[in-house]
Subunit: 494 residues, 2 copies
Amino acid sequence: MSNQSETKKGITTREEDYSKWYLDVVEAADLAENSSVRGCMVIKPYGYALWENIQKILDAKFKETDVVNAYFPIFIPKSFFEREAEHVEHFAKECAVVTHHRLELDPATGKLNPAGPLEEPLIVRPTSETIIYDTYSRWVQSYRDLPLLINQWVNIVRWEMRTRVFLRTMEFLWQEGHTAHASRQEAEDRAKQMVLVYKDFLENYLAMPVLAGRKTEAEKFAGADYTLCVEAMMQDGKALQAGTSHMLGQNFAKSFNVSFLDEKGERQFVWQTSWGVSTRMIGGLIMTHGDDKGMIMPPKIAPLQAVLVTIFASEEEKKLTVEAAKELAEKLKAAGVIAKVDDRDERPGVKYFEWEKKGVPLRLEVGPKDVAKKQVIAVRRDNGEKAVIGVDEIVKQVKKLLESIQKNLFDRALKNQLANTKEIDDYSKFKKQLEENDVFISSHWCGSAQCEAQIKEETKATIRCIPFNNKAEKGKCLVCGQESKERVIFAKAY
Amino acid sequence: MSNQSETKKGITTREEDYSKWYLDVVEAADLAENSSVRGCMVIKPYGYALWENIQKILDAKFKETDVVNAYFPIFIPKSFFEREAEHVEHFAKECAVVTHHRLELDPATGKLNPAGPLEEPLIVRPTSETIIYDTYSRWVQSYRDLPLLINQWVNIVRWEMRTRVFLRTMEFLWQEGHTAHASRQEAEDRAKQMVLVYKDFLENYLAMPVLAGRKTEAEKFAGADYTLCVEAMMQDGKALQAGTSHMLGQNFAKSFNVSFLDEKGERQFVWQTSWGVSTRMIGGLIMTHGDDKGMIMPPKIAPLQAVLVTIFASEEEKKLTVEAAKELAEKLKAAGVIAKVDDRDERPGVKYFEWEKKGVPLRLEVGPKDVAKKQVIAVRRDNGEKAVIGVDEIVKQVKKLLESIQKNLFDRALKNQLANTKEIDDYSKFKKQLEENDVFISSHWCGSAQCEAQIKEETKATIRCIPFNNKAEKGKCLVCGQESKERVIFAKAY
């Protein structure tokens, strides 16, 4: 809400304290805030508008691949979790447990206490494999019922102890796709297809270059055969897992008896995938593009693409500039540009400052002289460049600038990623590098969980992914010196 | 999912058992089903597509009135509820209480038990006034921060003992709007505005005629000054509350200290409204339009508006009809009609039956003779009328038929409502009427909660609303004979 009382506080610079900078930007850009419930965030209207844009674009991409949406219960009976061993082991540590179904007044204390204990506790979904596959076990009977290609957009609860708005919160919003197939190959193809949908979305809309690849056994989803992922680099050289797609094999199918009669009349278990991205991506978006002035929104996802800021020193000038700005805004809107006029009685600097913090890609200044000259001054948020645009050309020029900003943001992020990815073959250099500053390190690894664990223990770096189409290259494992046939990507991660 | 194994079971007729009919239609139309979690439903893809359409249209209508979306936590601290006396008294009886934040293995039994008890239990939101207004208390400082016009689309949990899919479920989906204003008048206007948005949506999209009006004190929302509502009549003469809009006055503002400095620098409490509609509307939609063959979807909200059913007896005929149908489908889609080809190798009757159950407004039959004659046979779902349409005219004629179906559904429902609304001035006739069959009864009532309670106790009928623009008319209260200045609407309700 642009009309809420302004926070006067400045933004910590990235150099000073990157973590603090991040929180300052979230606040300054009016995206979200912590609520009174520990670890739960309030997504404010401007932040939610960004999520709505993300939903709209991704949802259309899912539907293009024949996925449909549905809705499954938020509560999962405890016993469902217990059916898949790896799954429950992972999620038991961090789940909100509903044990009662009403509150009752204690006359002695005047307080309300939980009452109506449940026979079986219910878990607030930390992910929905179990409840969905229980349903699928009834929906799938024959090969003709397959594939099932279903997604849901919902809220999720994981009881995190250390939370950070967007990046790690007790409650977050996400989508989770759940598919069931008649063959292993079809499921594998789907898992790969969806991680590539995420890569396309992240790169071409959020302007976030990502590495797509496969997780190691230690880093895969609890209950999956294997996990594919997209990993983005933040400006500080740390990694952010931006989306995952799991090949579940027949693990859950066996636990929940999701089976079908094949064309020969034989009973088979289905092959499954699940895949998701969450509001966490917004955290990644901020840390990829933001600068010391605040947020920078890639135009293709921006809730507001161009703001027309009127500049005036008198009522007469106000009338003149606001009228001109409104006319231009209508022109832009008719051409599909999300534009808005800022006609508030504030000094220009105050207005500029606000839209900069919010990361609006393009500012169009409309002063009395500009009106006289039939022009506006366009100022790019990404690099501060100014340009004079004649009003007759406004639609064409604004669109061109927005495209250029979109491209520049991606290029800049990619340049950062490439500049901060290093090939290192020596473990002491590897450790030294991560003590100095965070980067992605491409190193040889023998494939053993032990070496992986030792590196994590000693450096906090984990294997982010084994990239798709990785180059075959003989080498020696960083830690044990055993033979390795390819490099993998190490980094510290959010 | 049209590819799921078909339920062969027939639909109970409405005359036989209206309640059973309703459940049969929900199942036959593949809209939703009960999950393994007592009282929680699974909204199936076809039902969810309907909800997506509802969301899309309503959301645009909200935004036209300057409402923006946001997201607030699902958990509400118990102490928040306790701050508004009426509110907590109502909701304490039916809330899911989270008391622990993990599960721990008991080595003795091998079972997982709730562990990590919370200092303060959390309630899964049954409605979000308290958590949202706690947030508003920080957002609102000055009159310049007002009005706040925020909505959220979320899931809600109310621990209902007797549940029925869509109509009354433990978990449901809804939107809840929450506004804060500087003056009483502005809040009252907003409460009224939103109930009229609902009326417009229900009548012009869902084709459900409604009575808009005000609830009595006994029927208002717990914590409101007063409640406005829209009430629809189901085919069985019972009422369904399809949406409510609450004038909250300053009740919550005082409990949560939502206050602002006005233009004179004086501190004032804000005036608030909240308003919502839920997946319950889908239950109302079924009970308004459905018939003994299944669901009937109003075209403006239908996930599928026209299905092109191909009829063939040989591979050659299949090729011919499918090709023709696909071409027509493309034409229709290009013109904005949601169309689809059914080219399955099933007997025509089987295909017709399925789309009838699902309530697709228009069936277009494409057989080999039709292809030869460059025509299709159009069959309306609402009245079974057939028409021959030349393929050159298909877009125009289909659009015309869809409009006509939309209108007919509304007219039919309105006719039912008018035919089943009776003015009754005598309490024994009133009782007799409700013993015979359910109708809306327009009667005089003195305004006392006692007479209202007695009627509810003796007949199960409640006052559904005091209609807007009610005619002033002197009369005598049904029960006590005291003077009354207007009639109110009584009915049994879902």
